[in-house]
């Protein structure tokens, strides 16, 4: 499903957080949104997912979502957002229960997504017993279960340590290769952006405007950590953001 963000502007009271954002999100691509902290990138994601309403402008669906999608706009959150009182299995089941699927169909989906995220052996574990990486894999399995048309990923790897982040990036690439999905991926980590993004959107400091859009043609599977041309793009991005990040850091939070 293609999406289009059309002249989107947003204020919180007198503060303008996003200004005139125009962006196309084509099917089957991962769009990474990067920017200094407080630039409104997570807010932008909430507009795309319909959790908040922008002051002006809109997010348009250019086509119908696929009929088999249970939840076309599906979030993956930074802090996992798993129910601590439900097991891995129960957390995935939660998002299927309201769809009247019947138990056999639900069992089939849960088993399938847990296999795809290498969690089949941990179906009965409670979140408190899982590592951060495992928790995020559960959240990814939960998202897979509803067959999203668009993945909305809000700094999904930011709460994880560097090694786990590498592993999960490989997992995400693997999942994308198996079945290319559409995603808007918000991050402040430039290395993640160049590893996973087909298109990288750089936002400026508040009020967030699009400063630059960079397309990376290299296929995801060829992008290893430390690849020379990726490093060059990463540096270019950092160059673009450095002053803004510094200024954002000096700002008082209002």
């Amino acid at each position: 499903m293609d999406l289009k963000i059309d002249a989107l502007t947003h204020h919180y009271g007198p503060t303008e957080v996003l200004a005139d954002i125009n962006l196309e999100i084509p099917t089957g691509r991962i769009i990474c949104v990067v920017g200094p902290s407080g630039c409104g990138k997570s807010t932008l994601l909430r507009f795309v997912g319909g959790l908040e309403r922008p002051s002006e402008g809109q997010v348009l669906q250019l086509s119908e979502p696929p009929a088999d999608s249970l939840n076309p706009f599906t979030f993956v959150f930074q802090d996992f957002a798993l129910l601590p009182w439900r097991t891995v299995d129960g957390n995935v089941r939660l998002v299927l229960e309201d769809h009247g699927l019947g138990k056999p169909e639900m069992d089939r989906i849960v088993l399938d997504v847990l296999k795809r995220t290498k969690l089949a052996d941990f179906a009965d574990a409670l979140p408190k017993n899982l590592s951060g990486g495992m928790k995020q894999r559960v959240a990814i399995a939960r998202a897979l279960a509803v067959r999203p048309a668009v993945w909305l990923m809000d700094e999904p790897l930011s709460a994880l340590d560097a090694q786990t982040r590498e592993l999960l990036m490989d997992d995400l690439v693997g999942l994308w290769q198996l079945q290319p999905f559409t995603a808007v991926y918000v991050t402040h980590n430039l290395a993640e952006a160049v590893r996973l993004g087909h298109r990288i959107v750089v936002l400026s400091r508040r009020p967030g405007k699009i400063r630059k859009i960079i397309d990376i043609d290299m296929p995801l599977e060829d992008r290893a950590a430390g690849n020379a041309s990726l490093t060059k793009i990463e540096q270019e991005l950092w160059h673009l953001m450095r002053d803004e990040a510094e200024a954002a850091d000096q700002e008082l939070i209002t």
């Binding site: 997912g49 959790l51 249970l70 939840n71 706009f73 599906t74 979030f75 959150f77 802090d79 957002a81 129910l83 601590p84 009182w85 439900r86 939660l94 998002v95 229960e97 309201d98 409670l126 979140p127 408190k128 939960r142 509803v146 909305l152």
Partner: protein, 261 residues
């Protein structure tokens, strides 16, 4: 010079020590027994623990224990059930609806500090001298603390979990049933601990007015006759009731809140 770095950590972490609480009880009883036997505690100050235990035993053997305990447990169950039940419902409603919050929070704040015992005569006029007034008193007394604990617990449910529920298109009823209520359960249960203790206090007070049988009536009779053994026997029963309820609630917590760290 070479010596180990001085250790400054440790402490501030409650450990579970089994049996110590029981030991304190037994030690106090033994001291009282010794004192009353040796004579440095007079019989008018404190009855002999062994006499109290004998009184309890007689009470149990004669069947009078159940005659008193039965009605008391009935009143406690009915009163606390309705008070806490309605309290949880109202508390959840306040937690979920701004309208209910604006309407009910000032009212609850106004009702909370009223000593419910002072209202007993009024309740007798409203509900009669029989069981109804006792149920009402206990229900009213448990209602307010339960409401306050419940809406506080609902307020403390992790908002990101609710946002997650909304982002997956869960129905409002599913969000309440599967996210809000389990998330509020720890707070509701700890509120229930307080409510049940208050229920026992009010039970005794209610039974001191117009009850033939019941632990409160038993204590009142004993007090009127300065029969300290029976008075202490009655107090012991209340105490045991409190400990039992707290133990049961602890078990329920352990089961319902197994997911907590």
């Amino acid at each position: 010079m070479s010596q180990p770095v001085p250790y400054r950590g440790g402490g501030f972490r409650p450990k579970r020590i089994r049996g110590l609480g029981l030991l304190v009880f037994i030690a106090l009883l033994l001291i009282a027994e010794w004192g009353t036997r040796a004579g440095w505690i007079t019989n008018l100050t404190l009855p002999r623990p062994s006499d109290v235990i004998r009184t309890l035993w007689d009470l149990a053997v004669s069947g009078m224990l159940w005659t008193h305990l039965g009605p008391s447990l009935g009143r406690l169950t009915v009163g606390a059930f309705f008070g806490a039940g309605v309290g949880v419902l109202v508390g959840v409603a306040i937690g979920l609806s701004s309208m209910m919050r604006a309407a009910m929070v000032p009212l609850v704040a106004a009702l909370f500090p009223i000593p419910k015992i002072a209202l007993l005569p009024l309740f007798v006029i409203w509900f009669g001298i029989d069981e109804m007034s006792k149920y009402a008193l206990i229900a009213f007394g448990t209602f307010t603390p339960t409401v306050v604990a419940t809406y506080g617990a609902v307020d403390n449910v992790d908002r990101t979990l609710i946002k997650m529920g909304q982002s997956f298109g869960l129905s409002r009823i599913s969000i309440i049933r599967k996210i809000v209520l389990p998330g509020a359960m720890p707070g509701i249960l700890s509120g229930l601990r307080i409510s049940l203790a208050i229920a026992i206090i009010l039970l005794t007070a209610a039974e001191m007015i117009g009850a033939e049988y019941g632990i409160g009536a038993y204590i009142l009779q004993a007090g009127a006759l300065y029969d300290l053994e029976r008075l202490f026997a009655g107090v012991t029963i209340l105490s045991v009731l409190g400990v039992t309820l707290s133990f049961v609630l602890g078990r329920v917590e352990g089961r319902v809140l197994r997911w907590r760290i």
